[in-house]
Symmetry: C2
């Protein structure tokens, strides 16, 4: 990049993000089978990762005392970000189709008035579930009817296996309601801190006009310029295809190991994409109590309880298969199985 | 960096920031004449630039309705960041020694209770003034007495000319009161979005423990790794020395051009570092009215009024000399002079 003699990535960048990066990203997303929509670069905004974007959305779209809806269970770190913004958190239960939008609808009809709804529509963290198109439509239409915005954390959208997931929540939006958060952390390199928000121009204007954006001149100008080169050279396509194959294989190895070690003593759905297995011990054992025993045997996991403020999910746990080689996954599940049988 | 085979800068980083970067930065700062203090890497935290750090400080150290003190005039974009956090802004006047801390002291004694004080102690934006050591001491001791934190924007501290400025505000702090914001935007490359906060470990813990920090794993891991190499190769020393010479020369050329074109019709102090001239028209003419006439003649500036909510500084304007070559500066001031004489 620098050998071309262009030093502009070292200067302050455009508030919306480096233009050529937004164009390359739009082209890349538009080609994705899991997008099923044309993405316009004018609807994209450069972030320094999904978390930074979500944090800024809290600053710009809510204030102290406002209520934000989350799925129950949900990504535990995000809940903490919302709490740092002094937002009230309200959980909505999930089933195997993700957030139970009908429960949210009932609460709304009884006078419940959230300012924001946070959802991970595809390959949810931690449950791995995806919301079917009908629910997506209903959620977006509730946003219009009851005047809230939806923060859709769609960072796993591109990590599908054979089966193509429903298109992003934003493809159902015709009323400036959805902010779709994407990230290169899951498809390229988390250390780069490059992500994006996809939203209507009206919504994006709030981000481009924000003083903190203006003051720094785009949230990761240099990083975006690097990623742009990476996309244009075709490496991102190659990498995402590679990750899908590798993660799909790892998920299937973990599934087989779980079957072999646990049989009918655990319950779960086989992931069709994303990062996670969400297990439940049939005997109801407390996964927080079980954790130190597992760690003594050299394996760890996230206990279910941390993914919710409800105090539920005591008998659940989350496993991640993306970070380890298949032989390590087999070893890890075998250790978990040994701990389980000797408990 | 990457040719060494170390791909760790591509992975999630430590929440406090990439360790080797913090060490190299501490060594670099400790050697600076304008620091006059030993900087410990444990007192440094990686940010994606000073604005990002200030924005996060607002989230973590204040909430809706709290009051933040600013200098009058001050950096206009920062005021807007505070407003986006729903903070109340209270201005304290400045003189040729920066913030009039005695005025703040009087207000505090009358019951005024700010949560935060924002100051640019050295080469203030826009006035170019620096607070003498006595005022720095008094401000820090007020913070202890009246229980507030000080956000010290010290991004110009290293940009001194012959005369060495007082040491950073944080060198006067013995009670976890000061957060010192630094940035590579002014000494290396703004596009990289790398900066730091220097503070006590107790204060930094708030930043390292923040969910948004944890979720992303350090605010600009890859950028920090790049900057670390740059520091270790000795290039940052060379660059800062070079910038001091170039900016000092540019300031002196602008000063001569102002004298030649305006003589006694303007008033200002000659900057001893930093980025800015802060002029006042003796005839009291409104610099906002004058601006479009100047722009017709091909020169622009920031009118004084935008640096304050008080409605004052109508007859002031800010000029930046760092962004242009000396011949361009001479041309610009000549155009401003022509506009002035034909007004």
């Amino acid at each position: 990049m620098l050998s071309k003699g262009d030093t502009s990535p070292l200067q302050y960048g455009a508030t919306q993000g480096y233009g050529p990066f937004l164009e390359s990203l739009a082209t890349f997303l538009s080609k994705q089978q899991s997008y099923q929509m044309q993405v316009d670069p004018h609807n994209l905004f450069l972030t320094a990762g999904a978390s930074q974007g979500l944090d800024l959305a809290c600053t710009l779209f809510a204030s102290k005392g406002d209520t934000i809806v989350v799925e129950e269970p949900t990504y535990f770190v995000i809940e903490q970000i919302f709490r740092e913004h002094n937002l009230k958190i309200a959980g909505i239960p999930t089933d195997s189709d993700g957030m139970m939008v009908s429960v949210l609808a009932e609460k709304l009809e009884s006078g419940f008035r959230p300012k924001l709804v946070y959802t991970i529509p595809t390959y949810q963290n931690p449950t791995g579930t995806s919301m079917p198109p009908e629910r997506r439509k209903q959620l977006v239409s509730l946003a219009t009817e009851f005047d809230f915005h939806i923060l859709a954390d769609e960072v796993y959208q591109l990590i599908h296996f054979e089966h193509i997931p429903p298109p992003p929540l934003i493809s159902f939006d015709h009323d400036n309601r959805v902010l779709s958060f994407g990230s290169f952390s899951k498809i390229l390199a988390p250390g780069l801190r490059v992500g994006w928000i996809q939203a209507s121009r009206d919504v994006l204007r709030r981000f481009t006009d924000a003083a903190v954006t203006f003051s720094g001149g785009g949230f990761n100008h240099y990083g975006a310029a690097l990623v742009k080169e990476f996309i244009d050279m075709g490496f991102l396509d190659t990498n995402v295809t590679y990750l899908r194959q590798v993660y799909s294989k790892r998920a299937s190895v973990m599934n087989e190991a779980l079957q072999a070690n646990f049989g009918n003593s655990i319950e779960y759905e086989i992931p069709t994409g994303g990062y996670y297995f969400w297990l439940r011990f049939i005997d109801g054992r407390d996964t927080e109590v079980f954790l130190p025993l597992a760690e003594e045997n050299g394996v760890s996991y996230r206990p279910g309880k941390i993914f919710s403020e409800s105090g539920r999910f005591n008998d659940n746990l989350r496993l991640t298969y993306t970070l380890y080689e298949t032989d390590e996954l087999e070893k890890g599940i075998a250790r978990l199985g040994t701990t389980f049988r000797n408990y």
